[in-house]
């Protein structure tokens, strides 16, 4: 299975990747801008995401929420998302509507500022504050990622604060903040545009040049604020926090691990798969099925690139039981990875699962486009979509042992415990 890739650049620095596939008459357009919450300054948390909302509030030629109406009325779907390292905007439409979405996305990049008003900002501030209430403040465990980020990364690290931001910072965001943010980060030379699906490549090049070509380069992006490089890399101690107000107790364990794209990251991915990838994985088999100490288990790595990623394991504690017991058992299982009883067959199973899911996911043009944009933004190498899995095939049981002994240690660990109402916090 080879995904076709054509990469080129416009004169204004916009990186473009074309990936043809005519099996369904749809086309996915996906743009990644190299800006996320990591680029926010102190006191301005949540600005990258609030800005993403503003991008749906109208431009010079596409007023109000017409961008969305245009895409929906031709039978397309669209959205955007903001994360630690990046912001993406994406539209999937019937293939005869390719030029429509090029017009819409280019107008956001070239003709946004004159349409910006205080009224629009105030409205989206309310919407985003309600998004925060819905996802975080009124949601049991809703602040888990916010708390882990704060505990895993020091205050001067770009990942210390949450993507959605604090209510106080959202209240303080001004029209100037939004306009400055746009001028600084939203430029063709800070973006990657991927088209995936049913289009003619020559025609696509012509249309992309027509709509994006005239937009001028940006002023250049300032360095990421704070201190992205962690020295020393590991936490150096165990950090704990306990929170309440949830229906059933829950334990999160998180370790700092090397960033996405490093060889060790892929080894860590296999380690997380061994722990909780399927029902033959260690945490599931031992803690959920055999000992019934957990009502559910998960483990995953975050694909982030600024200084360090994290490997996170989550266990749901049975009603009324002491979370410390599950915490101990999870830590023992993780420690066993380093002690050396991993088999080659186990690693083989984990890699097989990763490979199969990768292929299942790539069936959708929008998923393929998003992955291509990611690989181009982070590594300037869209062809990795065809070769990234080679990393996994080379990983041995020894590699996983070494990784666990190096990173999944007690002096590099954050423990976040949620206790149910009426429970006592353990030691």
């Amino acid at each position: 299975m080879q995904i076709p890739i054509e990469r080129y650049e416009l004169d204004n620095g916009l990186k473009v990747v074309l990936s043809e596939d005519h099996s369904t008459p749809v086309v996915a357009l996906n743009i990644w801008y190299d800006v996320g919450s990591r680029n926010e300054l102190p006191g301005k948390t949540g600005l990258a995401h609030l800005f993403e909302h503003m991008m749906f509030q109208g431009t010079v030629h596409v007023p109000g929420t017409n961008h969305i109406a245009h895409v929906e009325r031709v039978g397309g779907s669209l959205n955007a998302s903001t994360y630690l390292d990046r912001t993406n905007y994406y539209d999937t439409v019937p293939s005869d509507r390719l030029e429509l979405v090029l017009w819409l996305e280019s107008d956001r990049l070239g003709f946004f500022l004159p349409a910006l008003t205080q009224e629009k900002l105030d409205l989206q501030r309310d919407v985003v504050k309600n998004e925060r209430r819905q996802r975080v403040d009124n949601q049991p465990y809703g602040d888990w990622d916010e708390r882990l980020q704060a505990l895993l990364y020091p205050p001067d690290h770009p990942y210390h604060h949450p993507v959605i931001g604090s209510m106080a910072d959202l209240d303080a965001a001004s029209l100037d903040d939004v306009a400055d943010f746009f001028r600084t980060y939203y430029a063709p030379d800070n973006g990657v545009l991927t088209l995936c699906g049913d289009f003619d490549p020559d025609e696509a090049r012509r249309l992309i040049e027509r709509w994006f070509g005239p937009i001028p380069r940006g002023p250049g992006v300032p360095p990421i604020p704070g201190r992205p490089v962690l020295e020393p890399f590991k936490l150096g101690r165990e950090v704990r926090e306990t929170r309440g107000g949830v229906p059933l107790p829950r334990v999160y364990l998180a370790w700092r691990v090397p960033a996405y794209g490093t060889r060790d990251y892929y080894v860590g991915d296999v380690a997380s798969e061994l722990l909780a990838g399927g029902k033959s994985a260690r945490l599931y088999r031992s803690l959920v099925r055999e000992r019934r100490m957990a009502r559910g288990i998960a483990a995953f790595l975050l694909p982030v690139v600024t200084g360090a990623s994290s490997l996170i394991a989550r266990g749901n504690v049975p009603d009324g039981e002491d979370p410390a017991v599950l915490e101990r058992a999870m830590r023992d299982e993780v420690a066993r990875l380093a002690s050396g009883d991993i088999t080659a067959a186990e690693v083989e199973r984990a890699v097989t699962g990763i490979e199969a899911r990768h292929l299942f996911d790539l069936q959708k043009v929008n998923e393929r486009a998003d992955q291509i944009s990611q690989l181009t933004t982070f590594f300037d190498d869209p062809g990795l979509i065809n070769t990234e899995l080679d990393h996994y095939r080379a990983i041995t049981a020894d590699d996983v042992r070494t990784f666990a002994a190096e990173y999944l240690t007690d002096d590099n660990l954050v423990v976040l415990t949620y206790i149910a109402d009426g429970q006592e916090a353990g030691s």
């Binding site: 039978g75 309600n130 949601q139 699962g353």
Partner: protein
């Protein structure tokens, strides 16, 4: 900056034809139906076996047994224990998925084409020869109860559960959650699970659907080999009671002190999937709350800033299911949001939608249809829909035309028949002390305050 005229939307490009892949139907001697759709762009196949083993077929005292049975299929089968099944499944890179709806129980997988044969073998084992070890039954029961507690401790899912409870008549299966209540799940024994499996997971009338890089002949050969000598038929099932619980609009506040938002549901009995006005209702729903540009979302989110989003849906089943409008708003604007939602319903009944709204909604629904057909599991789920609701095999060939031919008059007729602003269950999960007074002042109907423990009643 640019020589191109940006003021107008660019014209559309050349139209590309689209059609649903041809559906091949076969039948095995023991009564298993086969439905196959070929897709050859990725070396991937999805197979699902659909049984008449949904929530409606369970005994009320054991509500939850249907869901627990599907969860236990991988817990031991034939000679294999749970760990051996897991090792086989993970070793083959199979994504195995069993689930239950009100109308069906189904189990299946997505796999690489090269592993189709062994994947069929695993599926045949877990469907035909599950062993239901006692310890695994206990575990599945405990996990189901934890899920129920978790859902009741989460405002959005608590609101969903309460909504069904107040929409359907007391005692109706549809009034309880599909996975059962704490008190009924506690009664699910190993014997109950084994009996449910023996009664409902039978080949006669079951359908195996397959989509992906495979031919109908290949599927037939595999099905013959793995399922051809299986015998038995399930008993017919009594339908659900789909009478409404309320005779007038009523507000039910599920008290959750300290909530910074109110989760709101406004709903009532909806329509069955095979209803003649299904397309008109789909267009109606798109206009009301089925898209970002819908009336509800543009009003509550983009005009008022009350919420992160507002939507509506008709969950159609073999029988009339649930119609719900949903949103989560900051506490202070709860009452106003409710009155806006009821107003939106009435407006659609009293005034025909505009030509532009109608066009947009029809084109949206017809246009997004192919997006769901890029994956093998997307196509397989459409085949399951054909099977479950008794739709013709060529149903999806005419699907887009059916949507595109809906008229404004039909939408208004659907609104008058299918929206009940005067008989709606308005469920709100929020801080009762803060919102009760203003909800009473709305004067849309009686207001009652209950606790989450009411869900066990």
């Amino acid at each position: 900056m640019s020589a191109v005229d940006r003021a107008l939307a660019p014209p559309r490009g050349p139209l590309r034809p689209f059609r649903f892949p041809p559906v091949h139907r076969r039948r095995l001697a023991n009564g298993v139906n086969l439905l196959v759709a070929e897709m050859h762009s990725f070396p991937v196949v999805t197979v699902d076996v659909v049984f008449d083993a949904g929530g409606l077929t369970e005994n009320r005292e054991h509500a939850g047994v249907a869901a627990i049975t599907t969860a236990l299929l991988e817990s031991g089968a034939g000679e294999m224990d749970a760990d051996e099944i897991a090792e086989r499944v993970d070793g083959l890179g199979i994504s195995l998925d069993s689930g239950v709806s009100w109308d069906t129980g189904q189990s299946g997988f997505t796999c690489l084409r090269a592993r189709l044969e062994p994947a069929f073998g695993v599926l045949a084992d877990i469907l035909r020869r599950p062993t239901f070890p006692e310890r695994e039954v206990e575990r599945a029961r405990d996990e189901r109860m934890a899920t129920i507690q978790q859902r009741r401790g989460t405002p959005s899912t608590l609101a969903d559960e309460a909504e069904s409870r107040w929409v359907f008549a007391p005692g109706s299966s549809f009034g309880r959650p599909l996975g059962g209540l704490l008190r009924t799940v506690a009664e699910v024994s190993r014997d109950a699970v084994a009996a449910f499996h023996a009664a409902r997971y039978r080949p006669a009338g079951a359908t195996l659907v397959a989509a992906g890089d495979v031919t109908a002949d290949e599927v037939q050969a595999l099905a013959e080999r793995w399922f051809g000598d299986w015998e038995g038929a399930p008993d017919p099932v009594a339908p659900a009671d789909v009478r409404p619980r309320l005779d007038r609009t009523t507000i039910i506040v599920v008290d959750r002190p300290g909530s910074v938002q109110s989760e709101i549901r406004v709903g009532h009995v909806g329509i069955e999937r095979a209803a003649p006005d299904y397309f008109a209702v789909s267009v109606l729903n798109a206009i009301l709350g089925g898209t970002f540009s819908s009336r509800m979302n543009l009003n509550l989110r983009e005009r008022l800033g009350y919420t992160y989003g507002a939507s509506s849906s008709f969950a159609s089943r073999r029988q009339p299911g649930l119609f719900t409008m949903s949103t989560a708003v900051q506490t202070e604007v709860t009452a106003h949001s409710v009155s806006e939602m009821l107003r939106e319903m009435r407006e659609l009944q009293h005034e025909p939608v505009t030509g532009a709204e109608l066009d947009d909604a029809r084109n949206f629904l017809a246009g997004v249809f192919p997006l769901g057909l890029q994956t093998t599991d997307g196509v397989a789920s459409k085949l399951s829909t054909i099977v479950t609701y008794g739709l013709p095999d060529d149903y999806y060939d005419g699907y887009r035309d059916g949507l595109l031919s809906v008229t404004a008059a039909e939408v208004q007729e659907a609104a008058r028949r299918r929206l009940w602003p005067d008989r709606a269950a308005v469920v709100i999960v929020g801080d009762a002390e803060k919102i009760r007074g203003e909800l009473e002042a709305l004067d849309v109907g009686p207001v009652q305050v209950v606790g989450a423990e009411e869900m066990e009643a």
